[in-house]
């Protein structure tokens, strides 16, 4: 295990200590570092909370900030935070307009967010949920509710965050977040494993010349494992599955997120995006907003994912809106 760490048990908490020192724009409540919230709440705004395991930076906490989220409950590496932590975050960020939970479709997170919503309800806080399930590889069409949430949740955050910043109601913010969710699809490919600090060895093994298309961000099995193909071919295969999901027409606009899983250099992400862009152009689809970089990682895992958000007019407006968080900044215009 080649990691910069002290005692593996302290991994998540020491990371958080670093984050609080580096970014005064976020702080924590309930005397618990795992309950991360923005330092400047906006009165009357719908609160947006997220949460999930550590090891995915910038997910989840990295998107707490202006134009995005208000709080994040932080779990151990690949572990859900507790319902209590989610509840503490919820209580703090509620400004009377209610709170929307946006998180990934994992049973641990679902069960804990459900419990937190129950607790918040007892306090009279209105809570809604939108559960990210963008990973095409994790279940077939018709069984979308079983799909895992991966990097595409970024678009749900972006849309919901901008909607809340506009001062929309909880119902409206929820409707728009849900629309972004329904119109987002992701395909990923992994080239290597990662190491959970407390476990100390690779989560799974994969041959020196192999890739796994569709692998999940905790190493969940994908669709097919085969010999690593040239970059263009990998993208062709991934995009074919995404194109099959929705009716992308000539003249349509999309937002594209090419995401590195952690160990893959940015140069390669741009080589991948180059091909994505060629395929979109061939269909007459415009990549109106493009992000290439690390948005949802699995620590040092090598690999990448492509997320496509099928835009309409209101999603276009929300995606384009400015944002300023410790890990994501977008200057409008």
């Amino acid at each position: 295990m080649k990691k910069f760490l002290n005692d593996p048990v302290d991994f998540a908490d020491e990371m958080l200590e670093g984050i609080y020192k580096a970014h005064p724009a976020v702080t924590y409540v309930a005397d618990d570092k795992r309950c991360l919230v923005t330092s400047k709440l906006k009165a009357g705004k719908v609160g947006i909370a997220t949460g999930g395991g550590s090891g995915h930076l910038p997910l989840f906490l990295g998107y707490v900030g202006d134009g995005m989220l208000d709080g994040a409950a932080v779990g151990g590496v690949f572990q859900s935070p507790s319902a209590e932590q989610m509840y503490q975050v919820t209580k703090h960020i509620d400004q009377g307009a209610g709170v929307l939970y946006i998180f990934g479709n994992y049973s641990g997170d679902i069960i804990n967010f459900d419990m937190a919503a129950e607790l918040a309800d007892l306090d009279g806080i209105q809570v809604k949920q939108v559960i990210g399930n963008d990973d095409v590889a994790s279940s077939v069409v018709g069984e979308e509710h079983k799909r895992r949430g991966v990097a595409g949740i970024f678009f749900v955050y972006k849309a919901a965050g901008a909607a809340a910043a506009e001062g929309l109601s909880l119902d409206e913010v929820t409707r728009l977040a849900d629309k972004a969710r329904l119109r987002t699809r992701t395909m990923g490919v992994a080239l290597s494993s990662c190491v959970v600090p407390e476990i100390g060895h690779a989560t799974f093994s994969i041959g020196e010349d192999e890739m796994e298309i569709g692998m999940g961000i905790h190493g969940e099995p994908g669709i097919i494992r085969k010999k690593l193909a040239p970059a263009d071919q990998v993208i062709d295969e991934m995009m074919e599955r995404i194109f099959a999901e929705q009716d992308y027409r000539n003249g349509d606009d999309v937002a594209v997120l090419v995401n590195g899983l952690g160990g893959t250099p940015m140069e390669e992400l741009y080589i991948l995006f180059r091909r994505v862009s060629q395929l979109l152009e061939a269909r007459g689809v415009t990549a109106k907003h493009v992000w290439v970089g690390e948005f949802a990682t699995s620590m040092e895992m090598a690999g990448a994912s492509v997320s496509i958000l099928h835009l309409d007019e209101e999603l276009d407006r929300l995606v384009a809106a400015p944002a300023n968080t410790p890990f994501f900044k977008h200057v409008a215009g």
Binding site: F78, Q79, S82, Y106, S107, G108, I111, M115, H218
Partner: protein
């Protein structure tokens, strides 16, 4: 023993703590087959924390309070799927036995019924989905039948443990529908469910505990 008292509850959690410390590696390996290997870690951690919390409270707290403390402690220390479901189970069991000084067969049946209902509600799984619920349901059903026929506590729990063992065996042929295992689809067939194994361990140890004393 015929009845479980508050002081017994504290000792029962000690027994569970020892059990999950012993089964740690086994559960890690079991969850590792079609999951993320954390079950052994979360169960040993959460029962250790619960047992310690119960000693902190002491028997004066009474059974319901002790169970509530156990549930709350577990939810905090192990917010994984099974951690939260077991925590929910104990919280609901606590409500079900509220005001009771000691638990006989009837109260233990109410305990496990509430435990099962809590897990079912929180997890939204159905019987047959290859989860913890597949052993909790026969446990509750068996205990209800035993209580109705006025069986002594030890006998009732022995019957429940036997039912759980069978039910656990039956999970082998099921296809996982929930959690990380669901992604493995057909590969889950032939394997006993990890969460169901924990359910069986819980009731078996409880039965042994009552029989031993």
């Amino acid at each position: 023993m015929d009845k479980i008292t508050a002081s017994d509850i504290i000792r029962l959690f000690d027994a569970w703590k020892t059990l999950f410390a012993e089964q740690r590696e086994f559960l890690i390996a079991l969850d590792g087959k079609v999951g993320d290997s954390d079950l052994g870690i979360t169960m040993s951690k959460s029962f250790a924390a619960a047992a310690e919390a119960l000693h902190g409270e002491g028997e004066v707290a009474g059974i319901a309070k002790l169970l509530r403390t156990a549930g709350a402690t577990m939810a905090r220390t192990a917010p994984s799927t099974m951690g939260t479901l077991t925590a929910t189970g104990f919280l609901r069991a606590s409500k079900a036995v509220d005001g009771k000084e000691a638990l006989g067969a009837t109260e233990v049946a109410a305990f496990w019924r509430a435990f099962r209902d809590g897990v079912a509600e929180r997890g939204k799984a159905k019987v047959g989905d290859k989860t913890l619920l597949d052993v909790l349901d026969p446990i509750a059903v068996a205990l209800e039948a035993q209580a109705e026929s006025a069986a002594p506590l030890a006998e009732a729990l022995a019957a429940a443990a036997a039912a759980a063992e069978q039910a656990l065996k039956a999970t082998e042929s099921m296809l996982a529908q929930h959690g990380k295992a669901a992604a493995f689809q057909q590969k889950t067939i032939g394997l006993q469910d990890a969460g169901a194994t924990v359910g069986y361990f819980l009731v078996r140890r409880m039965a042994e505990f009552v029989a031993e004393a």
